[in-house]
Amino acid sequence: MKMGDFVKIIGYEGEVAFFKIALVETMAQQSVLFGDAAQGIGAAAHIGANPIESDPDPVPYKFMEPVQELRLVQMRVSVYPTDGNSGAPVVNNVTPAIEIEANSPESERRFGTDRRTRTTMNGIAALTVPDTGGRNGGRIPANQVRRQDDQCEVFDLWIIHGYEPGFDITNSMNFNLGGIIPGPLDFNWYLNTQGRRYVLGKPTRDELDRLMKKEIPYKAVTLGGVTTITMEA
């Protein structure tokens, strides 16, 4: 978004408010190391099984919290591995089996569907995934947020005062991410955050009327995603 744009912020319970972007600044890049030679992320024994996580729960990113009201952060995550010796980026080993688990800024694991079910392909127990879907069952595939590519807005998170997101990396491969045994995925793994931060202004009464009638274009962002249904089959 640019200065002068209007944004409609949608709360988790459906409450909405319009704001005008008063100031904008790039956040550049901030990187966190998730796996290296000394601290690998273990290999899943069976690739179809639940993945191995870098931490039991997503780690809060306290540095991403706006510390005042009327400030908004648009956050975009990306992943890259580097060679442990040369530091050069590794291009070809970021697969969709490596995924990012994310807590929304409200500190609830997000992404996924309403239902969590057992899925068996071909009627074979070896191809049974015990927990597919569910309200926290989605993860961000690393290959679609590769640092080498143009970054996309599909997995953007929006953060306001008082909240912070959390992240960890999951591994559905039978190879370590990082680790001490040389192998195709034994690199240093980084999770990067980029994005922009905004100062929000309040629209005038006339602007508000026209926004409600859709006479002025605006961007709508949902904080924390859609409401969760607690009942699961």
Binding site: A102, T113, R115, A126, T132, I140, N143, G183, G225
Partner: protein, 249 residues
């Protein structure tokens, strides 16, 4: 390699969409909130669970062997069902394969278009083909049962899980419905399994997309939408277009 906008065709809060069943009156919906689904995946083959390749054609008069299937019927993905009436999923299916030995993502250039995904629409019907089913014989090679209302399948090389997924096969899922999928193989290579043939990888079916909360458009909004005073996007019918009486040539 085709390049797509990764956010292409996703709806946004504030959008109006028109939805119609196969035969029904259209209704207009207003998208109130959205959220990414992330990625969910199921594994379709393993080193111990493979999908055979089709046999070689025996002679000029013999029919082309049919597809081989990984499942007898498409497997219903129950976790893709929204649990309330005011919720809508936009599902973007994709497929990827990894090398069991190296852990590498298999390059999409080696994925044959004859490896395909067969799917049931969320309302439970198989769709994706044409109106007519026919045997096509070319150069003495009979190709039985081409086309028909259930004769279309998604070539996996078009939905390979690279950075940019195609929105061409997006599926919209409403309350009480869920799509189903199975992998079919018309190549001569084994898919999955140990060995030295070209398609012996671990194959995954993945789902990405967005979920939405919507409300019905108000009468005032609907009047403006009908008069095209407000822009809207139409969603594909969950059951496709109506079938005609099956005609076989």
């Amino acid at each position: 390699m085709a390049v797509y906008d990764r956010a292409a065709e996703y709806l946004q809060p504030g959008d109006y969409v028109m939805f119609s069943s196969q035969y029904g009156k259209p209704i207009w919906l207003f998208i109130e909130a959205d959220e990414a689904l992330g990625q969910m995946k199921v594994q379709m083959t393993d080193v111990g669970v493979s999908l055979a390749g089709r046999a070689a054609r025996a002679g000029a008069g013999s029919p082309v062997p049919p597809f081989t299937f990984i499942d007898a019927e498409p497997v219903r993905m129950d976790f893709l069902e929204p649990r309330r009436e005011d919720r809508l999923y936009q599902i973007r299916p994709s497929v990827f394969a990894i090398d069991e030995l190296t852990g590498h993502l298999i390059d999409e250039d080696v994925i044959p278009p004859l490896l395909m995904l067969e799917w049931d629409y969320p309302d439970g019907t198989r769709q994706g083909g044409s109106d007519r089913l026919a045997t096509i014989t070319i150069n003495n090679i009979p190709n039985p049962d081409i086309g028909g209302p259930q004769g279309g399948r998604i070539p996996v090389n078009e939905i390979y899980n690279r950075s940019d997924l195609s929105p061409l096969y997006d599926i919209f899922v409403f309350f009480l419905t869920a799509p189903a999928f199975r992998l079919i193989n018309w190549t001569r290579g084994v898919v999955g399994a140990a060995g030295d043939e070209g398609l012996q990888f671990l194959w995954f079916l993945t789902f990405q997309g967005r979920k939405y909360i919507f409300r019905r458009a108000t009468a005032e909004e609907e009047e403006k939408l009908i008069n095209r005073e407000l822009p809207y996007r139409s969603l594909p019918s969950p059951g496709g277009v109506p079938d005609t009486l099956l005609r076989r040539d």
